[in-house]
């Protein structure tokens, strides 16, 4: 009984806040207006919430000390505005890194597929077809190793380019 009353009260407050904030739909607004005109409990709750709303609207913000603005301006005189993030992020480097990681993942996947023994388990039409392909002629350990080494070298090149760019930027700022 008490829980039901609490729920009803909660629901009433929620609907009334929607009405006060102006977020209630037109149909809901009409229903609430009718309830306010006929139901004393709704009217009383509405007055209470309206009072809280007005108090909140009228409440003032906290103010820092009188010297606050002056302190900030003194502090910022020691700093420079940093260039926009967009201007120092080199898209080529981002694309390069993406390519490196995607190539690595693809390399591992190909290697994984190459190592799979397709003869185990139940055979399917796809497995049968795959079995007929002689992967060893396209793919062997030496090729995979060479591919991975190439990726690592490419990765180191990208890292070097990125660090060189950073160093240059740092020097320019200094």
């Amino acid at each position: 009984m008490e829980t039901n009353l609490h729920h009803m009260n909660h629901d009433m407050e929620e609907r009334l806040w929607g009405y006060i904030d102006g977020t209630a739909a037109a149909a809901e607004k009409t229903v609430i207006e009718k309830l306010l005109a006929t139901d004393a409990a709704w009217k009383e709750k509405y007055s209470e919430l309206l009072e809280v709303n007005q108090l909140l609207q009228a409440s003032e913000m906290e103010a820092p000390s009188m010297r606050f603005s002056k302190n900030v301006m003194e502090e910022i005189s020691k700093y420079h505005i940093a260039p926009a993030t967009k201007s120092y992020i080199n898209k080529k480097i981002i694309w390069g890194l993406s390519f490196f990681f995607i190539a690595t993942i693809v390399g591992f996947l190909i290697y994984g597929v190459g190592q799979t023994d397709w003869n185990t388990g139940e055979s399917s039409a796809i497995a049968d077809k795959l079995n007929k392909i002689d992967f060893s002629q396209f793919f062997n350990n030496t090729l995979v190793n060479a591919f991975m080494v190439l990726n690592i070298i490419l990765g180191l090149f990208l890292l070097d380019a990125y660090l060189a760019n950073k160093r240059k930027q740092y020097r320019n700022e200094a």
């Binding site: 919430l49 009072e51 108090l55 609207q57 409440s59 913000m61 906290e62 606050f68 603005s69 700093y79």
Partner: protein, 194 residues
């Protein structure tokens, strides 16, 4: 001074080299930032230090403000991250809606706020003190809605939540505020309702 200019005009001036124009933004938003920070860190000295740091960070990153949102919305993201960093450094719990510890911490400050209330017996002081008794999440959403004049959509965007969630959180915060006022300032509330 750049008081007659809007935020974007002041920002353009600052970015074009008129650094003193930034004072216009500081004056305009110092109370907003300070109030939000104070409600999170709950200490005036710390709040002032963090607020100052926020304006410096905002100044340094001003080139990143593209005007896609209100300056106050952009500034709020810096307020939020700075407060969380500060609270983490201080090893304080960074709050959650139902965090009992935060609620206890807020309640423990009750005596101080009540003493303050004796000095400034006014409705506004009561509301302000009641807000200070709320947990930081509740105080934050009330401040954003009523003081920063952010719409529910803007609040949802800065808090990275759904609009409906923002609506529910605001509703819960106001309910809890009302309860705090009725519990801690019963006599004053009675005067207001009657």
């Amino acid at each position: 001074m750049s008081t007659g200019l809007n935020d974007n005009e002041i920002i353009s001036k600052v970015l074009n080299g008129d650094h003193q124009a930034y004072a216009g933004l500081v004056n305009r938003y110092q109370n907003y930032v300070f109030t939000l920070v104070l409600r999170m860190v709950r200490n005036r000295e710390d709040a002032e230090e963090v607020a100052q740091d926020i304006f410096i960070k905002a100044y340094r990153s001003l080139a990143d403000f593209r005007g896609a949102s209100k300056f106050s919305t952009w500034l709020y993201t810096i307020v939020n991250t700075s407060c969380i960093t500060f609270l983490r450094k201080k090893r304080l719990d960074t709050h959650s809606l139902d965090d009992d510890k935060v609620m206890e911490a807020a309640d423990s400050q009750d005596s101080g706020f009540r003493a303050n209330l004796v000095e400034q017996k006014s409705k506004q002081a009561m509301v302000s003190n009641a807000i200070n008794l709320l947990n930081p999440d509740d105080a934050e959403i009330i401040t954003l809605f009523y003081k920063a004049e952010q719409t529910l959509e803007e609040i949802a965007r800065v808090l990275r939540i759904e609009v409906n969630t923002a609506k529910v959180r605001l509703h819960r915060a106001r309910t809890r505020l009302k309860e705090k006022m009725e519990t801690h300032f019963a006599a004053e509330v009675k005067d207001i309702y009657n």
